[in-house]
């Protein structure tokens, strides 16, 4: 042991060094983590459990939960089971979830279309991407003007082909789909940029080899390209599903839940019950949030499990 070992000397001449110095490597990570953990616990981890607790109470948000709130056990959940508006919201969430996934193939299609080297293509790529950078509030406003009955651009264009009197956001049958379409706009841009990056990193030799082997068009796409884009697809799935379940801004801006409550989703209904209605119903709102959280937890667990597998493979 004449040469200094690469591994730090964990057994130095102990007497000369202070306690901190001796345990530096064991203690440092916790010192570095401390502020982050404190913040994250106070604002994220603990509130999750608190919401579970609040959901068991009848509480208007005034005063202290234990004093002003009334413990009603699963009462809120029993009420949810027969709440027609809750059911509508839940179904709308399902619609969001499935239709939002269209952003992935659409994003891939645009990425394939733009994956060329011609003059100015970089600018095209950024302009295609930039709906994602705009806030959802503005996207919502932009689309609600686009959908305006009679005077909106969509109505004008439909008028050219002889379709009159369409009021997308005014009719309960179409309003949710209109909002989802607006949401797909930035989300497709996001998926597109993920795929463009993926395409950029692809191994050109493999593609050339496949081409020499006669792989063409759809076969090439399905057997060669898409498998190589797997990491991008995974992230696209994660962000799209999370985005679909988080949808709130667009609904709040474009229809505020209407017409006749037909565009509510769980996240919006929860907000409405807890804050926007007369006499805040915090307990009932929290119960809705818990249901939404449990739905999301299914996906979160799956994502974490996949990431954990990767993590273990990397070790």
């Amino acid at each position: 042991m004449t040469n200094a070992p690469v591994v730090p000397d964990l057994h130095p001449p102990a007497a000369k060094r202070g306690w901190y110095k001796r345990n530096e490597i064991a203690i440092t990570p916790w010192l570095f983590l401390l502020p982050g953990i404190l913040f994250f616990s106070a604002y994220v981890i603990i509130p999750i459990f608190q919401s579970f607790q609040v959901s068991l109470y009848r509480w208007d948000g005034l005063g202290d939960l234990s004093e002003q709130g009334q413990f009603i056990g699963l009462g809120n959940y029993r009420e949810l089971a027969t709440d027609r508006n809750f059911e509508i919201s839940l179904w709308n969430n399902v619609r969001w979830l499935f239709l939002y996934l269209l952003a992935i193939p659409m994003g891939l299609a645009i990425a394939l279309f733009l994956n060329q080297t011609v003059t100015g293509i970089r600018l095209y790529k950024s302009l295609f991407f930039f709906p994602f950078v705009i806030s959802q509030v503005v996207v919502g406003l932009v689309f609600s003007w686009f959908y305006l009955p009679n005077d909106g651009l969509l109505a004008v264009m439909l008028g050219w082909i002889g379709i009159e009197g369409v009021n997308i956001l005014g009719s309960p049958e179409t309003a949710t789909y209109g909002i989802i379409a607006a949401g797909l706009w930035p989300q497709t841009a996001y998926c597109m940029i993920l795929y463009l990056t993926g395409l950029n990193a692809m191994d050109p030799e493999q593609i050339e080899a496949a081409r020499l082997d006669g792989a063409k068009r759809w076969k090439m796409l399905w057997y060669i390209i898409i498998p190589q884009l797997k990491p991008a697809t995974f992230i696209a799935f994660v962000v799209t599903i999370i985005g679909a379940l988080r949808s709130f801004d667009l609904i709040s801006i474009m229809t505020n839940g209407g017409p006749f409550g037909s565009t509510r989703v769980l996240s919006f209904y929860m907000f409405e019950k807890a804050l926007a209605e007369f006499g805040f119903r915090m307990g009932y709102g929290a119960a809705i949030a818990v249901i939404l959280f449990l739905i999301m937890l299914v996906f979160i667990s799956y994502f974490l499990w996949s990431m954990w597998k990767d993590e273990r493979a990397a070790r």
Binding site: F39, I48, Q116, V118, V133, S135, W145, L153, L221, I235
Partner: protein, 282 residues
């Protein structure tokens, strides 16, 4: 289907492609172009029902001037800036530390903590809403920018920790070992060895967080009210009720509200995309 490089394809397809590009782009941005057109039209166009025709007059300066001098818009914009910038700084400070701890050291619970941060970043906002609002009221920070900033810092730390940790993982570890052998203390390793290498990650996160926070709407309406502390995303609804049915002004207002992140994106495009597509390639 993988596009054959355009240079290798027929002349005819090359020309078609070049023509198709601007056409597709216009179609894609149509709703936005419509709003831009609205924002330069005079009031009279809307009362006369001339929504889509040639603008009666070019009123860009009048409309945007009204937004800036005749409404609360500048206050809201200023609030947004005062909320966004401290959040960016705070988040990067916290997450570079957590990322460093989780990326460099092996200790029990490392992976658990890491996954806790990731999981927290995915939860629906609504499950946090009631307790966070309550907590903010208890701290006496309801309807203040500080209350909003503190929450944003805490929540964004989840995503940023994921980002920073993976970035640090990819750094050459022998560098740190060498510093340790030299007897450099861990704190100095963080500051003098790791941080300088983190500049690209910091830049990427800064633009991403700026955009996320600028565009936040949900927390703005949960934790604040009124023009004293509300950011522009929430303020725009008040603005729109002030100018109800004045489409030219509402359009101009929306464009102004959306502009800062857009400018940020075009200025820092490389970093922005690098941050957003983290993990999209192996």
């Amino acid at each position: 289907m993988f596009p054959t490089p355009i240079q290798k394809s027929s002349r005819q397809w090359q020309l078609t492609y070049q023509a198709l590009l601007p056409f597709a782009l216009i179609l894609w941005l149509l709703p936005l172009i419509a709003v831009m057109l609205f924002s330069i039209k005079p009031d009279s166009d809307f009362t006369n029902g001339n929504y889509w025709g040639v603008p009666g007059s070019f009123d860009l300066f009048e409309n945007y001037g009204k937004v800036f001098f005749d409404s609360d818009m500048p206050r809201y914009l200023w609030n947004s800036l005062l909320i966004t910038v401290p959040t960016v700084i705070g988040t990067i400070a916290l997450s570079s530390m957590t990322g460093f701890a989780l990326g460099i050291y092996r200790f029990k619970g490392n992976l658990f903590l890491f996954f806790l941060f990731i999981a927290g970043n995915f939860v629906p906002f609504q499950i946090l809403m009631v307790p966070v609002r309550d907590f903010t009221i208890d701290l006496g920070l309801y309807d203040t920018k500080t209350g909003l900033i503190l929450f944003h810092i805490a929540f964004q730390t989840g995503f940023c920790t994921l980002f920073m940790r993976n970035f640090i993982r990819a750094l050459p570890f022998p560098l740190i070992e060498a510093a340790r052998v030299e007897g450099v203390s861990e704190w100095r390793i963080f500051w003098y060895v790791v941080m300088p290498l983190m500049k690209p990650a910091v830049a990427a996160l800064a633009v991403l967080i700026f955009t996320f926070i600028w565009n936040d709407y949900f927390w703005a309406i949960v934790l604040t009210q009124g023009p004293d502390s509300q950011p522009v995303t929430a303020g725009i609804t008040a603005f729109n009720s002030q100018f109800r049915a004045a489409y030219h002004l509402m359009s101009a207002g929306s464009i102004v509200a959306a502009l800062p992140p857009v400018a940020m994106f075009f200025l820092m495009q490389k970093h922005f995309v690098a941050g957003l597509t983290l993990g999209a390639v192996k």
